[in-house]
Amino acid sequence: MTAAIEFRNVTRSFGSVRAVDDVSVEVAAGEFFSMLGPSGSGKTTCLRLIAGFELPDSGHILLDGIDVSDVPPYDRNVNTVFQDYALFPHMSVAQNVEYGLRVRGVAADERRRRTDEMLALVKLGEFGERRPQQLSGGQRQRVALARALINRPKVLLLDEPLGALDLKLREAMQIELKALQRELGITFVFVTHDQGEALSMSDRVAVFDRGRIVQIDSPRGLYGRPRNPFVAQFVGGANVLTSELASTTLGVARPVAIRPEQMRILAAGTATEPGWVACAGTIADSQYHGATLRVQVRTPAGELLTVAQAEAGATDAATRAGTAVQVTWPRESVVELEADHA
């Protein structure tokens, strides 16, 4: 089956910066695909390359098997939900939504029918006559979604669409977006710097770092088997032991990752359970997070390990800065990593 989107060795530079550096990736039809990375990692440029706002310096972009590398945005069957929503301020909500049909010369009565359909889909049936400025952030988000979906695109591109919403609304929208994608069965490409968002919605996630894709995997695979220290730290904030520390404590000559929630703090000098590895250190700091307590422990080598433990089990002594402790973790929870790419 032809991939909905295919990048073949795509490179795009801005001045001396390679925003997208020799990226090759395939996105299957109907997939919820996330592009995750810190700002400046190239994920948004990739999205803009798919939309056609940027053209590649080299390499090829294929949509449904057809090379669109130099096709302008208005001739591509993809639509975008913009980070700032980009709603037209001089048009009503309904006019915004029907815009895609209007510029393609669809007759007025069909336009009205499909606009009503779309507004109902995003639960904004009553708001057609309003101006975008009169809506809340979450409602504008839905208008942007309806406007992008009305052309029935093969691919919907979402550029950090939930970034401006508050936490509660964001979580509700995550569930709705996922449900919408399942209902419509179209390909979603979702750009975000929020690993939780990427993990909770996606079929697959591509992790970007400095213009390259470091790892593509299912959320579970990404979390459980990060490939290198960057992915381990960016997705889930794992502790990464450098190869030196890993070889002294574990006898492994490669960097390793251990999740904070798999680590425990023991009083100094306590015997460890069989199958667990221990490392001495002193408590540097701690933060209360409600259900959990995150404690930073500094190893003699100067590395900082973060331990997440249930708040209930924490004793005062185990959180006081300067206390000598040991950090332990089960040997099987250790994930061996490749060295970071240059």
Partner: protein
């Protein structure tokens, strides 16, 4: 503790700190302070003179004694709208103002668009200076300079001649109404000078309006399938229209009120500004001068209500 903290805070600054605190606690009196100078200016000098102007236009002059009769009457307005010579002046000035405004908009828009969309920061600075530079020069110097440029032996005639365009110039000058013996004594010449003079007033507001249009709106339009021309018509133009409207109010009213350019360059025939100047000066008919100066106000009001109906200010 509280008193000590307040004392420590109040220790430095003394009365100026007390004054600051006073205004901080009473934002309304601060706003009042802020607005007193402009309110005084607008209230007395600006609105006051406008009101007295309006008042004057409802007086009339006694034809025999040439004295102003200070009794409310519409006689002056009747004179204004019934005498063919007066109507000619209003029509002539209005047509010139409309033509100048349209030409300014057509010339200004592409430049403003380039400045807002494509120019680098450095290029933008150069263009700003280039647009504003002519305004650093005296208005009169520029007008008389243009008279020389447009004269029969002027540089423009010479330039057109060396390009072999003399027949085109002659044809233009032979056009009835707008033509004349030379460029400097025709409406074409006057039109050129007006456009030159008011162009910056059109470029700057359009540029400001275009600058405020987020790039993502243009991308969203293209993304939804609009070709560049459709994006321009549906998104750029409506959002830039408040700027065009603001600029055209400038060019329109400046042309309506100007009394120097029509006297220095162009065909004989009075313009509103000249008429006001002459009526309140040599002729001493202040009511008629006042009535004439009400005409631009009325025209601008009509113009604004038309552009408002077109939705020019919807995006504001």
């Amino acid at each position: 503790m509280n008193a000590a903290a307040r004392g420590a805070a109040g220790g430095t600054g003394g009365w100026s700190r007390a004054l600051s605190s006073f205004f901080y606690r009473r934002p309304n009196s601060y706003i009042l302070l802020l607005l007193i100078p402009p309110l005084l200016w607008f209230g007395t000098v600006y609105l006051g003179s406008l009101f007295s102007l309006l008042l004057q236009s409802f007086y009339a002059i006694n034809d025999f004694t040439a004295e102003i009769v200070r009794e409310p009457t519409l006689a002056t307005y009747k004179q204004l709208v019934t005498r063919p010579a007066h109507i000619d002046i209003v029509v002539r000035t209005t047509l010139m103002a409309i033509t100048v405004t349209v030409a300014c908009a057509i010339i200004a828009f592409p430049l403003a668009y380039y400045m807002a969309r494509y120019a680098t920061a450095r290029m933008k600075t150069y263009l700003y200076v280039a647009v504003l530079l002519p305004m650093w020069t005296s208005y009169l110097v520029k007008v008389y300079a243009w008279r020389l440029i447009l004269a029969k032996q002027g540089i423009l005639t010479w330039f057109l001649d060396s390009l072999g365009l003399t027949p085109a110039l002659d044809a233009a000058l032979n056009t009835p109404v707008i033509g004349g013996p030379t460029l400097s004594s025709s409406y074409i010449g006057m039109f050129i000078v007006f456009v030159y003079m008011w162009l910056p007033y059109m470029i700057l507001p359009i540029h400001a309006a275009l600058e405020r249009v987020p790039r993502s709106l243009l991308q969203a339009s293209a993304d939804l399938g609009a070709r560049p021309g459709q994006t321009f018509r549906n998104v750029v133009l409506p959002l830039a229209f408040p700027g065009v409207a603001a600029g055209s109010v400038f060019t329109f009213s400046l042309t309506l009120g100007d009394y120097i350019i029509p006297g220095v360059v162009g065909a004989p025939g009075y313009f509103i500004g000249m008429m006001v100047f002459q009526q309140q000066g040599t002729a001493g008919n202040i009511p008629l001068a006042a009535a004439f100066s009400v005409v631009p106000i009325v025209l601008i009001a009509i113009y604004l209500s038309i552009v408002k109906r077109f939705g020019a200010f919807d995006a504001l």
